[in-house]
Homo-oligomer: 302 residues x 2
Amino acid sequence: IPDLIHRWGMDWQAGDHILLTDCEHQGVIAAVEEIARRFQLEVSTCPIQATLNQGDPTAVIAQHLQPRTRLVVLSHLLWNTGQVLPLKEIVEVCHNYSASSQPVRVLVDAAQSVGSLPLNLTELEVDFYAFTGHKWWCGAAGLGGLYIRSEVFESIYPTFMGWRSIITGETGQPEGLQPNGKRFEVATSAYPLSIALRSAIAIHQQWGSSQVRYEQICQLSEYLWQGLSQLDMVRCLATSPPKSGLVSFVLTNGQSHEQLVHSLEKRGFLLRTLHNPNCIRACVHYFTTTSEIDQLIEAIVS
Amino acid sequence: IPDLIHRWGMDWQAGDHILLTDCEHQGVIAAVEEIARRFQLEVSTCPIQATLNQGDPTAVIAQHLQPRTRLVVLSHLLWNTGQVLPLKEIVEVCHNYSASSQPVRVLVDAAQSVGSLPLNLTELEVDFYAFTGHKWWCGAAGLGGLYIRSEVFESIYPTFMGWRSIITGETGQPEGLQPNGKRFEVATSAYPLSIALRSAIAIHQQWGSSQVRYEQICQLSEYLWQGLSQLDMVRCLATSPPKSGLVSFVLTNGQSHEQLVHSLEKRGFLLRTLHNPNCIRACVHYFTTTSEIDQLIEAIVS
């Protein structure tokens, strides 16, 4: 949810432009299209998917900025191909885009990156970074978070407001917004979920730092990628080891992706099919074992 | 949150008017003011507080409708005085208001009424009825619900959208909204809280029907109201027994409301002060006991 909050909160003018990539989740696309419908905005999509193995995603984005572009919406870690975008470079290009009279903000769908990549958001200088707690953090379903860069904080209004967003005067009437992030809180929060997420994060931290966990994820996904690459019936989308825990591949023997995923599920392996590109996606976390990966490879072959 | 969702979702035009009552919660006022700021709407407030003991709230609202009124925002059960508004009558007046070229919708803040009043929303013909699960239902914090009358459903767009709101085509791209209430779901929901609320409701139902529980609430609040009314130092706001579990009163002996509430809290009684009107509010549920009420009265006196 939080990534959507600020999209309504921007001071949109008819004709403003939002740039999406061709790798965004359908939920993000739907949300952007609704904002566009409501405020008569232009939306376009740039071809980033083809840069998985060659090409420069930053250059693609740079080429698709327009004088009326006010927001670029992209994922730090692409949910379909597992590619990690060079976020710092992209943000620099957007922030330095001089053809626009208004700043070009960068909103990141961090669904796959929070809890899997080591992050330094102030160094990345990203404007908005929205995540969910139930994916890589393995928190309880239903809680997410939104980071807003302090420089843009004052230009954004909360879409939703409630008694926690505001300062009240002596008569109990609203007298203004809270000076800090509280203005984005509405009313009674989901405290049980918040405590669950904090506990989940604390458990992950016991295993090792985010850098150490990320390196372990990459080692394991490389192990899986190599195992898959050795199969005649499989072609991995990435031609080099993935830099994330997402390993996407296609079957080259004519077998249906749905059928394989279904039969793997019966044996306890949870993979998923994707439409764009048409592939199967496996996912390893730092706590996945090489033995589990070996068993998956065997199950795919048999 | 849900009561705010649809306010953004209406097709607002600059100059449209929202009517509030003077008994709404500051969080609701702040949300309405933000919508007004965003879409250049007019907001006005009608004096319903004074109808607690005499006068007709429906007539007050009828007098304050304007040709550009599109939404009336009020509480079914006023959080400050405990008054129950005649919702069916009010809705009828709003829906039959002929000076407006557009329908006047009624949005109800049901924070105090859901879980305490017996309800038949289709009979009430209310357009929007938004509640929270943690108050009278005693559910886990962080979950609410929104009822939308089927007749207005198609004219409302979700403010927030995600993969659960939409129908996707064969390529996984959004192709439209879900035909039912799913369009107001965004993405992964707070399932743990949802299950907690359902369990809480099931436990309440074991005690008796909503009608039976409401009658018990009224009996107990009358008992409290009578006890308070017999004290020289206290004046209850209502001059007849409350029709809800909220019993508001003022101290007539010059003692500070804050001080009394604070000293009661130390003895295990949780009451609260209110600013408008300036009073103390006690609250009884169906499971409150007369013995607890006796102890509260004693604690106030001593």
